[in-house]
């Protein structure tokens, strides 16, 4: 079966790959490109562990075909840190102990990034509903939400002082 050629941008790098039509973007990231940060928890869009940004918009990479990546700007968890230092969201997740097993964390980091890009001052309720598609079985969400609110504050300060 002829594979499809795709040229795209992943975490700022121009990336070319070959994939089969039925391979999802998640399959491509993990099995073709070797970016295993995005996780497969369900492959049906119900857990959010595979969350990525496509042209800035939050999506489940398991609900997108690899071929659809052509010409898009894709951000995965591997592309969130700012060079050699952590993004405030990552820093706050660590400070608040907002992870236990850490398997849902990559998806959450990307989902929170998308949230704070759209709204840097969410209420607790807004944050909880925005993240309803990111299942976490370890934490009960408490520390995750605290980390989100704290990271939002940092990002607002950064903007103010910029």
């Amino acid at each position: 079966m002829a594979k499809q050629y795709v040229s795209t941008t992943i975490n700022g790098e121009t990336t070319e790959f070959l994939c089969e039509t039925q391979q999802t973007m998640l399959d491509v990231l993990r099995d073709v490109i070797g970016l295993t940060g995005a996780k497969e928890g369900c492959a049906s869009g119900d857990c959010g562990a595979c969350s990525i940004q496509v042209d800035g918009r939050l999506v489940c990479s398991c609900l997108m075909l690899g071929v659809e990546a052509a010409g898009k700007e894709i951000i995965t968890v591997e592309g969130v840190a700012r060079g050699d230092h952590l993004h405030p969201i990552q820093q706050k997740f660590l400070e608040h102990a907002a992870l236990q097993c850490g398997f849902c964390t990559p998806g959450l980091i990307v989902a929170v990034k998308a949230l704070l890009e759209e709204n840097d001052n969410p209420t607790e309720t807004e944050a909880r509903y925005w993240l309803a598609g990111n299942l976490c079985r370890c934490t009960g969400y408490d520390k995750i939400i605290r980390a989100v609110m704290d990271a939002a504050a940092v990002i607002r300060e950064e903007k103010a002082s910029a």
Binding site: E20, K39, L94
Partner: protein, 755 residues
Amino acid sequence: MNYIDSNLKVVGTRPLRPDGVDKVTGRAMYSADTRVAGMLWGKILRSPHAHARIVKIDTSKAEALKGVYAVCSAADFPDIPSEEAFVGEGPMNFRDLAMNVMARGKALYEGHAIAAVAASTPAIADEALALIDVTYEILPHVIDVEAAMAETAPLLHADMFTQGVDPKPTKPSNIAKVVKFKKGDIDAGFKDAEVIVEGRYTTQPVHQAYIEPHACLATCAADGQVTIHASSQGHFMIRAYTAKLLGMEMANIRVNPAEIGGGFGGKTLIYIEPVAVKLAQKSGKPVKIQMTREDVFRGTGPTSGAVVEVKLGAKKDGTIVAAQQVLKFQAGAFAGSPIGPGCMCGFALYDIENIDVLGYDVVSNRPKVAAYRAPGAPITSFGVESCLDDLALKLGIDPLTLRVKNAAKNGTKTHYGPTHANIGFEQVLAVAAAHPHWNAPLPAGQGRGIACGFWFNIGGESTATVHINEDGSVTVATGSPDIGGSRASMGMMVAEVLGVPAERVRATIADTASIGFTHLTGGSRVTFATGMAATQAAEKVVDELKKRAAMIWEITPDAVEWRDGQAFPAGTNAGAFEPLDLATLALKAARTGGPVNAEVSVNAQGAGAGFGAHICDVSVDKETGHVTIERYTAIQDVGKAIHPSYVEGQIQGGAAQGIGWALSEEYIYNDKGQMENPGFLDYRCPVASDVPMIEAVLVEVPNPRHPFGVRGVGEVPIVPPMAAIANAIRGATNLRMPNLPISPPRLRAAIDQAG
């Protein structure tokens, strides 16, 4: 040495976890993240039938497919004899385990593994599975526990005769075991009682629902040596079970522990590892097996669903004088539900003179149950704590006061034998009574509930090594998979003993070939038992460092004192020397006798039992039956919190899982015995918007049997939520909801019925 009352510098603080950065940047390697060149994809064919005789398995078409390198079924595995052993978690019959990993003769539940293939791509593997031709003779099936107990029920195992009844039965049964516990004289107790309440409660099986599906990668060298990369709650468990099922020597299997994406007890068993090894042996290539979410739901173990009958008798003043329980636990397709702990935990919280508990371990055509957080305790306590609430109501006594009046204390003899020692239940109840939540006025229309929980916690075998690196930094390695941040607590205990900052100590998990045996991560044992080993290893290192300093100063080791990461002369008559720090001593290690390391193995005893009390407020939409958790507080005796954030996290996570168990999680079967909701869409775990902030209140009653006073914390928090929520719903609606989950259709129906 004991540090409980010493002035601690590291333990009790909240440093960043050592493995944190990898996990927030996507670098951490979980089971499915490992891949090697030339790797094949293994997939497993599962039974579509709940109960069927396997007449024939024809794999010829699959084997002929291009890209398929190996196919296997039960015929490829040794037919091992029935043998009880306690290698991992709970008594395990290896014949049952083998037959669960690959069905032999009969498929006992929908999702039971029948055969497996290894192919060059996942797509080819899927195609190959479709080409395997299995002839089934469909048999009548049974799903529900009481139906399975009936004389006329379809039998799963012709050779299963109920254990624990005298005389030994002559007819086989689905009842694997009967368990009885007695204390005092139950009949006299009820005669003595002035008030009696009883209830019948049911709970649904619930899945641990770790977000990481089971996965492993097996490679097999020409000389028969096998390497397995897998995440689990015990890589030594994987080695032992895989060796047993394949008839291999343990030394020929090396298991590398991948990061684990949640387990909660569900990864204390194996499902795919022997299959991956077998396929690797047959194909001569590395084989990776990765379960789908549907595989996880259909093929792996939830905890038992159950029927729980409770009868309580009390004096008017609230003294409980008689307590009786009958428990019927689903074990799934093979014997071994947590009926033992189920029978022990419910009444372990209270000082009651007369107790009678009867438990049944019952097989039916469901996946074999696996451990899930305090196995058995949440089920039994849902019944007991709900019934206690009704008793309080009938007595006109505040439900917390009733629990205080009857609370178990040090010296209370339990109905299963042990006497409680060093427990903190009274302290927990006192904190609950004084807590602002318990004393806050209840908003109109809301209900407030309280319930308590108990778990033994265990110790057991652990190994830890501490290395002083050449530059004076420190590494601690253990054999305990880190499921929730234990690397942080290991590093902190070692740092405390060495007198260095937490950041100076790196904690890792060593593979089965690189460290001594360590029992799996479960039973809330790691911070207690492995922590004990790590602490003792650090102490040995300190003794060695003192010797080295003594050698440098030419004085006797007992004239050296270790403080704040440095060696000092002990007093003036020891001589006047500049203190020697870790870096200096490490630098001189070669001259003073070589590397400074220590390894300690323990079989830790004296694990301290844990008690918790949860308070929750709910509001109920009486038109839809929808329940909202408005406020939630979880109070628990944690002994000593090494890293308080991760202790709070355990409690918050356990409470949230309990909220799902109470309100929304359940297995839905059709009349063919097939699960209808094998995915996160319709198996409804709580999402972020379903739960409020969960206030975790840490009560610290130190366990004198641990150097830092640690007692296990991971399991207690899932015990109280179901009853706490049901009790709150009763407060809001005046309805006792005895059946879980308390879903909107159930609650609306109950509201309509009450009129």
